[in-house]
């Protein structure tokens, strides 16, 4: 079996997010980029399955849709243990474009399990996995918190409201993964870092697609207003502020 993990390149969660061009685009200056945490967990689980000889995994590949600036993130995935990588050289504007580009990689390869994180920590769209399955006309399972391979069959546990659902999926299929699938992301070992430079990143030309959505504006949360002091001798003032300004009474 071969696994493909789709990885997104997102700002580190500690990054202070700023926008540019009238709040229509993310200001990427000074951003520290990382692998989307859900994708990183998918990759970790894929590598765990490969480490277990009984699962019969031959290769773990990663795929990314984005410009060359994302290559350090891809190489980190290779350093963690992925065998090879694909990068579609385009700057997607929405999830539809990402899924369309990923679909051509899957179609050109021979992948049995295609894993996507349930969302990306930048735009939190949760669209790519489902759209990708639709492009490929493959079954998909979302919310996967456990993924095992027993006697050549893929056993899945998914989180549902108030409990869990266990199922077996045929392959190939698209797995949409949430936290819990692996304990902790792997740390790139020195040997992995050294080997990453020798592993191939295959550049794939983008197919022509148009985005289905357009971002009008991003609105950052409003800063919290400064607290006001009220003189203890003026309880009426406090009531007035609570009524008219805070509007809580």
């Amino acid at each position: 079996m071969n696994i493909l993990v789709c990885i997104s390149h997102v700002p580190d969660t500690t990054t202070k997010i700023k926008f540019t061009d009238n709040n229509t685009r993310l200001d990427v200056s000074g951003i520290q980029w990382v692998i989307n945490p859900w994708d990183e967990l998918s990759l970790t689980r894929a590598l765990e399955l490969k480490d277990d000889a009984s699962c019969g995994i031959n290769t773990v590949s990663v795929a990314h849709v984005g410009p060359v600036s994302a290559e350090p993130t891809i190489r980190k995935a290779l350093a963690i243990g992925a065998d090879n990588a694909y990068r579609v050289d385009t700057e997607p504007l929405d999830a539809y474009q990402v899924a369309a580009q990923l679909a051509q990689i899957v179609k050109a390869g021979a992948f049995d399990i295609i894993l996507c994180g349930i969302e990306s920590s930048d735009y939190n769209g949760s669209n790519v996995g489902g759209m990708l399955a639709e492009f490929l006309d493959l079954p998909s399972v979302s919310g996967i918190s456990k993924l095992e391979i027993k006697e050549g069959k893929v056993h899945i546990t998914r989180e549902i409201d108030g409990g869990k659902e266990m199922l077996i999926s045929p392959t190939p299929f698209v797995g949409i993964v949430q936290k819990g699938i692996a304990k902790e992301p792997r740390i790139a070992a020195m040997r992995g870092i050294m080997m990453a430079r020798k592993k191939p990143i295959q550049l794939v030309d983008a197919v022509q697609t148009e985005p289905l959505s357009e971002t009008l504006e991003f609105e950052p949360p409003k800063p919290r207003p400064a607290c006001k002091f009220v003189d203890p001798d003026q309880p009426g003032k406090l009531i007035e502020l609570l009524q008219n300004e805070a509007k809580v009474i």
Binding site: K76, A79, A189, R191, I193, M194, A226, F229
Partner: protein, 594 residues
């Protein structure tokens, strides 16, 4: 034809470098950044969740974490590939040291193993010794320690009383003695032990296995900080050490000990950057959450001043660390090619050559960190004094840096002594240039050149500080002759002047080299440089004046002092606003991201 000759240790006093000649942290490549990220990820996953438990002195836990770092390959970063390591450049080694430096006690245990516990065998071991020990040390299968200090032999390391006597059959050295302050003592498998053979005047070095009969390891010391690192005494009672375990030649131990200290000082200089950046981040996060008088304390000028100064000193020190690291890499390469040194010998020769700089960076770096952690506690107020906060641990853990790897007092003496000795040896024409300047102090001027640009002005200031240093060095040498070596206060003044110059020049070159790529942030880095040079000039003037009036008086003293005042004069800087702008970036980022 050979390119421009490499810059020798201490030569910066008389030779100016150009910005494009130096390495700056902004030059790290993707692989180096990935290695740093691995070190950071490791601390977050394996060290930070256990800090409290480690500080109870849990030797087994420390050993387990060290072994995990070995599994990741972190212990092999400095080890050549032929001995199972990853043979990384010195710049990369220093970047890893910087990152691990934020690991509190773990950092001390890890650095002791990877540095003084492993590298003496890499650098001085014969092929059999290297093959036997280094591959296992580089993966953490063996853990190492370094045993030099004795109850009566600290800074005066060669005065140790441990002895090694050849057995009658000539197969063993019988080792007797006592070592103290041994990092990793509690769980080490191998030790590099220094002792004198028979009545030798100079130490020899031996590789001792901890399980050799007669090796007795004492309980851990109760320390002010770095409580998680095992520090104990080790006793040697008629320990039979095979003769093939002698490291280097008989009597080479003291040279090995000193060389290893050079390496340790350099790495300490990098460690403190990681710890300082962490304390700065902790401080700004707290200042961005803590409200008093209804506003965040990060809005107060007094707090902003502290935050900015913490950044300025850390950034400046970092500039010097990576500058010299690349100089060392270049020299190592040269030694390998020109002198056909093996990688180990080339490494230690390269590091030891930069003895002036390693002492500067040890002293300056440890004092920057002590300043930073002190201000970090202060910014946290009462909470900073609580053991719940990281800054409390950081404050205690920092203090040892001014003591180990040679006290800062010893290192200050070394800065001056080594620089003057290298100049006397002919490495660079310090005394010739100094004599010329001292002959005509009233002719020294400090005028801007016509059309002088921003960086030219800064380099003029640094150049003038170098002239001040030369005036003091020549004046002291002339007035005191050999007695200068006994005048430690003056030697310290000179050491501090030399240090300030090296750091200021490194910072100026870094800011210049990166200026164009900073975009709209460029002015902020110029702010850092403005404040630093402004302060450095004032400090150099004060130290130079203190020195001058300590060895000459009357008209001669006044004349030289006048020249120093002229040379230290810099354009006024609105340091309040500059510091506020630096602090604003830190406050906005809510983390150290300079």
């Amino acid at each position: 034809m050979e390119k421009k000759d490499y810059i020798k240790s201490g030569e910066f006093l008389v030779r100016d470098s150009e910005a494009n000649e130096i390495f700056v942290p902004e030059d790290f490549d993707e692989e180096q950044q990935m290695i740093a990220q691995t070190c950071k990820d490791f601390l977050e996953a394996e060290v930070y969740p256990h800090l409290d438990q480690l500080d109870t002195g849990d030797r087994e836990l420390m050993k387990e974490i060290l072994k995990k770092s070995g599994d990741l390959g972190l212990m092999g970063i400095s080890v050549p590939e032929e001995y199972g390591g990853f043979g990384q450049s010195f710049v990369t080694q220093m970047l890893a040291a910087e990152t691990i430096g934020a690991g509190f006690s773990f950092s001390v245990a890890f650095m002791a193993h990877c540095g003084i516990g492993t590298l003496p065998i890499v650098y001085y071991g014969n092929e059999e010794q290297r093959q036997k020990y280094v591959p296992l040390l580089s993966t953490g299968e063996l853990l190492g320690a370094y045993c030099l200090t004795e109850p009566g032999a600290g800074s005066d390391a060669n005065s140790g009383k441990s002895t090694a006597t050849l057995s009658e059959d000539g197969k063993h050295y019988i080792l007797n003695g006592q070592k103290m302050w041994i990092t990793n003592a509690g769980f080490c498998d191998t030790q590099v032990v220094f002792a004198k053979i028979d009545n030798d005047r100079i130490l020899s070095a031996f590789i001792v296995d901890s399980d050799m009969p007669g090796v007795v390891i004492g309980p851990d010391e109760h320390k002010m900080g770095i409580k998680g690192s095992s520090t104990a005494q080790i006793y040697y009672n008629d320990v039979k050490v095979p003769v093939e375990n002698m490291l280097g030649d008989r009597g080479e131990g003291f040279r090995i000990a000193l060389s290893i200290l050079h390496m340790g000082r350099m790495k300490l200089g990098a460690n403190v950057i990681g710890a300082a950046k962490m304390a700065i981040t902790d401080s700004v996060k707290y200042a961005n959450e803590r409200k008093q008088f209804c506003v965040l304390i990060s809005t107060f000028g007094a707090i902003q001043h502290k935050l900015a100064e913490m950044v300025i000193r850390t950034f400046a020190h970092e500039s010097a660390i990576y500058r010299v690291s690349k100089d060392i890499d270049d020299l190592m390469e040269r030694l390998k090619q020109r002198d056909a040194c093996d990688a180990g010998r080339a490494a230690i020769e390269g590091i030891s050559h930069y003895a002036v700089e390693d002492a500067i960076l040890k002293v300056y770096g440890s004092e920057v960190l002590d300043f930073v952690v002190d201000e970090a506690v202060q910014i946290h107020g009462g909470m900073g004094y609580s053991a719940e906060m990281n800054v409390e641990r950081g404050y205690r853990d920092s203090r040892i840096n001014r003591i180990f790897e040679g006290t800062n007092e010893i290192n200050r003496l070394l800065i001056t002594d080594t620089a003057l000795k290298r100049a006397k040896k002919g490495d660079f024409p310090l005394f010739e240039m100094a004599e010329d300047l001292y002959a005509k102090p009233d002719q020294l001027t400090n005028k801007a050149h016509e059309g002088e640009g921003y960086f030219e002005e800064k380099h003029r200031y640094v150049k003038n500080l170098k002239k001040s240093a030369m005036l003091v060095i020549h004046g002291a040498s002339k007035a005191l002759g050999r007695k200068l070596s006994k005048e430690q206060e003056i030697l310290n003044n000179i050491a501090d002047i030399i240090s300030e110059i090296y750091i200021a020049e490194s910072l100026a070159l870094r800011v210049e080299k990166t200026d164009a790529s900073r975009g709209e942030n460029a002015s902020l880095y110029r702010d850092i440089l403005d404040v630093f040079i402004y302060d450095a000039a004032a400090k150099v003037q004060k130290m130079a004046m203190d020195a001058i009036y300590s060895f000459v008086d009357g008209a001669e003293a006044d004349k030289v002092a006048g020249a120093i005042k002229t040379l230290s004069d810099t354009k006024g800087v609105n340091v309040k606003e500059a510091r506020r702008r630096i602090a604003e970036k830190l406050i906005d980022d809510n983390t150290y991201a300079f």
